[in-house]
């Protein structure tokens, strides 16, 4: 399993070690952190829900695509589900490769595709007391 959902906080220092290989000279990673604002509104925290079965399958597919498309050594992604506070780690992507071009490109691909395709939904709680699901318009390429 290269893609995982995690119901509890996880340590990116530990997941990073999954990528280590003697032939890898470059490691690129991305983390999504819970921000204190969204589109001008103060955010207190959020909840991520997923359709776990499909999310894990689609996540695996994205990581397999990245390994196919880019000259990388290994790639992983972990996405939190459940309740998160401001500053908490929401998603982590890590890629190791011989060279940095491929590491950056694959890391970017994985986070972009994960955000566009994996059935996970964000429910934000605002400082004003209300809350809501985020159902953004998909980018044009997603049809």
């Amino acid at each position: 399993m290269r893609f995982r959902l995690s119901e509890t906080p996880f340590d990116p220092a530990a997941t990073r070690e999954w990528l280590m290989r003697d032939e890898a000279g470059a490691y690129a990673s991305f983390e999504g952190w819970v921000r204190d604002h969204h589109q001008g509104r103060a955010v207190l925290g959020l909840r991520y829900e997923s359709y776990a079965l499909l999310a894990e399958r689609e996540g695996e597919k994205i990581l397999a695509e990245a390994l196919e498309r880019f000259a990388i050594v290994e790639a992983r992604c972990v996405h939190r589900v459940g309740d998160l506070g401001v500053g908490e780690l929401a998603v982590w992507v890590g890629v190791s490769a011989a060279h940095r071009d491929a590491a950056f490109a694959a890391c970017r691909y994985i986070i972009d595709e994960t955000k566009a395709r994996v059935p996970i939904w964000k429910h934000e709680r605002y400082a004003e007391g209300d809350a809501g699901w985020l159902h953004p318009e998909p980018p044009p390429t997603q049809g």
Partner: protein
């Protein structure tokens, strides 16, 4: 008539007031199934904004509903 299970997520689940339900449908395709459930529960999102999955794999709106299957309507995602 086909009996199947429907899963609701995020705003659809809030609107339906439930995470899943058992449904008897005579719709010719999944598009028709969603149209009927949208009317029943007052879903705000049109089918064009959703994707549909059957038994844990993305499917097509033109697919016919299969008895015993698990159908999920996927609102626009917002992970990451």
């Amino acid at each position: 008539m086909n009996r199947l299970t429907v899963l609701y997520f995020a705003s659809l689940r809030d609107a339906a007031g439930r995470a899943d339900e058992s449904v008897d449908t005579d719709a010719a395709d999944l598009r028709g199934l969603y149209a009927a459930l949208r009317e029943r529960h007052g879903f705000a999102l049109p089918a064009e904004r959703l994707r549909v999955a059957v038994d844990g794999a993305f499917a097509h709106w033109d697919d016919a509903p299969r008895a015993g299957s698990e159908v999920a309507f996927i609102p626009p995602v917002s992970g990451g």
